[in-house]
């Protein structure tokens, strides 16, 4: 349900002109909701940035997410390759 909650708020932000990108742990669900830009990460529910106390990995995910904000071919559903 988190993915829908986040996706709907994301849609509203984007509609208002704020550029957005979200992480998704369930690409199958995100494909149905269609947020403007989503990054599918290979981690279990509860671990969207990868691992606790792994700043290097968390930064990589964050940078990939930020890079997505350049895209305007929405909806974008990109896979994160760690």
């Amino acid at each position: 349900m988190c993915h829908q909650t986040v996706g709907l708020v994301q849609g509203a932000l984007e509609e208002a002109g704020i550029v957005t990108a979200s992480i998704t742990l369930l690409a199958e669900i995100s494909a149905r909701i269609q947020p403007p830009r989503a990054l599918a990460v290979p981690y279990p529910l509860g671990f969207p940035l990868g691992e606790a106390h792994n700043p290097a990995l968390q930064l990589r995910v964050l940078r990939a997410l930020l890079a997505l904000t350049e895209r305007d071919d929405v909806p974008v559903l990109e896979r994160f390759e760690p």
């Binding site: 349900m1 932000l13 984007e14 529910l45 509860g46 106390h53 909806p75």
Partner: protein, 160 residues
């Protein structure tokens, strides 16, 4: 990647039958400046709350659609987690709030000049909202107003 086939039968059946809200048409805002000039905000669905702020209410039918503000300078380790869902492992976020609200990482990117800055306020929701009508009608516009007032150019959203 979490996949539907890995989840419990009950949860999987629910998620398959659930009438997901589809965003259509998909809006597209264009970033008109480089990232190193963008102010970045965060939205988490982990149900994090600043100590002393009102907890999320797990008893609200259809899900607590309210939101909490997390200031950029909040002490992450002190944030309380109120997510009601038992369908995910809470241990990661318990150990490191950056897993769901990467404020420390964002500050590091700002310090390194990779982004223009960190927005002064961020937003926490509790994701288990099965009836999202009030979220869309009441909460989403307030979240938009908050980030617009703070001059956020980019908002990153993190479900758990």
């Amino acid at each position: 990647m979490a996949e539907l086939k890995d989840l419990s039968f009950t949860l999987r059946a629910f998620l398959k039958a659930y009438p997901w809200r589809r965003i259509s048409p998909v809006p597209c805002a264009r970033r008109d400046k480089p990232l190193d000039r963008c102010r970045v905000g965060l939205v988490t669905s982990a149900g994090l709350v600043v100590p002393g702020d009102k907890p999320f209410d797990a008893s609200v039918k259809g899900g607590d659609y309210s939101f909490r503000v997390i200031p950029a300078d909040a002490d992450l380790a002190q944030l309380e987690e109120h997510h009601r869902s038992s369908s995910f492992d809470h241990s990661g976020v318990e150990a490191d709030r950056n897993l769901a609200l990467p404020l420390t990482r964002l500050a590091e990117l700002a310090a390194a000049g990779e982004i223009g800055g960190v927005a002064p306020r961020h937003v926490s929701l509790m994701g288990s909202i099965t009836a999202p009508g009030r979220l869309v009608k009441h909460t989403a516009p307030q979240v938009v107003d908050l980030f617009a007032a703070d001059g956020a150019d980019v908002v990153l959203l993190v479900p758990v």
